[in-house]
Amino acid sequence: MIVSAFLKSLFRRRGRTLLALAGIAVSAALLLDMTMLASGLTVSFGELLGASGYTLRVTPKGILPFDSEAAIDDGAGVARRIAAVGGVRAVAPVLGAQFRIVRGDSTGAPVFTVGIDPRAEFLYRLERGRQPGPGEVVVSIPLARDLGVRPGDELALAGELDVTLGRARATRRFRVSGVGDFLYDYAGEHSLAMTLADAQAATGRSAGVSLFGVATDEGVDDETVVRRIAAAVPEVSAWSTRELMGEMDKRLLYFKQLATILGSVAMVVTALLVSTIITIGVRERFGEIATLRAIGVSGRRVLLAVVVEGLSLAGLGCVIGLPLGLWMAGRLDRILLSFPGIPARISFFAWEPRRVALAMGLVIAIGAAAGCIPGLGAVRARLAQALREEAE
């Protein structure tokens, strides 16, 4: 009864309560967004890395995938040695290169091209057509749309430009075998995929491979396979998804720390807001509380009622803050995804139920804690003095 009477007092001052709820909701939304941002890109990147089942990457010693032009020289030999490692299900070689599309006398901007093994491929999903054979390419959806090419059309690709003569060098015609959705492309990026042999021939890097994607057997620990590959092929670096996410974390340290700072600010604002509202609410009802204590209501019950009041305010604020936070996350994500070179499939904000529950739990706990201080003050106040002040 005491608790419900205290809760009703929130409705008595409706305007004030609504404002407090709005404030807590905005703070909770900000805290939620910062929680989602702190791990969002890393989690999203991890999901993307493992999307096609190839959870490991093998690169030239000491470098991250496509971080330099370095290549593994004996690609076929290294692939065989990796495939022989226990727990490895499939090995997919990739060679990165730049080609220019030649149309008549004009040559376009460089297009990122990958040489792949069509039987073991993890960089795109085929939307139309089929995997490339010798002399064929798969084009990305934006490239097909912007240049108006379809499976069966031909594309002239140049690997080099002759700066002196002013024309493309080493031009070769390729037939478009299919259109693919390239998983790691940024929005609107033009990309190509061709067979590894074609890419190696066109770039003069015979047997060169930029990286391998490695799929592991079901139930086998990725980290164990990484260690086995490192032991079997010491001239390469093997990365598990967790390690690559760790590297990503290092590069995104700024966002993680910004999220921590802003999340802390949001918590402080929530604490200030709830404690201000509850403190003043309790002060206004000092006489009321003193009367309750005078007629025998225990201090513990009064304290409980004040804490429940804070808890309810913070809880309701969270209920409003949750959808508000998700909406804000969508808007902020749209801003951050305009970063140059960020894959369009990645999200800066990840919904992780455990972390979200922790953030909202924190807000509610802050609400409860904020109610404790004025509650204790009211319970410990001298009864006679409080009653006299109320009478005056």
Binding site: G23, K61, A70, A71, G166, Y254, E284, L332
Partner: protein
């Protein structure tokens, strides 16, 4: 000309050689690399590029340099080594290759027309004036800036609600006093102005405290990131313009919150202000 490329290098120290018939090529090393190995001018290092083949080649450390505080490269924060261009080209698999040229134009020459001329002469190249280049390379920072703006709007919204809440609570606490003032003849306008002034005073005091807190926070943030990235870049800046904007915003919020809180009191007949 010095070629500066971020490369992973295999380094091995060797004692400085005595007199040699042909001097070894020279290299400049990043201060962080010099400290971590450690290296000093005169030391000999053997260098091999990851992208290249062949045996490592010896170089003499000619000096230690402090890299420019470049925000574009802060996230990767790679250690750099600088070679003479022909020495670097000899290390790489593709000789006679250059990533970019920097041109100094004659006084009075237009960067735009020079850029178009270069593109016309050297097929497949792209030439940029320094302003255009700065615009292109600052795309990342424009995104970060837009993100900060959006967070700023949310923060302003939360502050406005907080201020309004505080003002309404303060005014509600003194409803009886306001009622008495009105009953003894104090005009609505005077009560209204008094409340707005009080809100402005709170906002100004809050803004001043916020500016002080901002200065301290900026120092802490800069000191923290200077340690994390080993850089002289400043991540947080509190300029007079920013303080002025924040103060004006605080003032506007104070006036708005005060006016809303005051309206709740002056719109009620004085005899009702004493009611619980």
């Amino acid at each position: 000309m010095t070629g500066a490329l971020a490369l992973a290098l295999a380094l091995a120290q060797q004692p400085a050689a005595a007199a040699r018939p042909e001097p070894l090529p020279q290299v400049l090393v990043d201060r962080r690399l010099a400290e971590s190995v450690p290296l000093r001018p005169g030391d000999t290092v053997r260098v091999r590029t990851l992208a290249g083949r062949g045996e490592p080649r010896p170089f003499v450390v000619a000096g230690v340099f402090e890299r420019e505080a470049d925000p574009n490269r802060i996230s990767r924060n790679e250690i750099e080594v600088r070679f003479h261009l022909p020495d670097l080209q000899a290390l790489l698999p593709q000789p006679d290759r250059v990533d970019r040229f920097a041109l100094v134009l004659e006084r009075g020459a237009r960067a735009d027309s020079a850029a178009r001329w270069v593109e016309g002469v050297a097929f497949g190249t792209r030439a940029f004036g320094s302003a255009e280049l700065a615009d292109q390379t600052s795309a990342t920072f424009r995104v970060v800036s837009r993100f900060h703006d959006a967070i700023g709007i949310v923060t302003i919204l939360a502050s406005a609600i907080f201020l309004l809440c505080v003002m309404i609570i303060r005014v509600d606490e003194r409803r009886r006093d306001m009622g008495v003032l009105r009953l003894i003849g104090v005009s609505r306008g005077t009560v209204f102005r008094a409340i707005v002034l009080e809100a402005v005073a709170i906002a100004v005091a809050g803004s001043a405290a916020g500016a002080g807190l901002g200065l301290v926070a900026a120092r802490i943030v800069n000191a923290h990131y200077a340690g994390v990235y080993d850089t002289t870049l400043r991540f947080a800046l509190v300029t007079p313009r920013i303080v002025l904007i924040a103060a004006l915003l605080g003032l506007a919020l104070g006036v708005g919150a005060g006016a809303l809180a005051a309206w709740r009191v002056v719109a009620v007949p004085p005899q009702k202000l004493g009611e619980r």
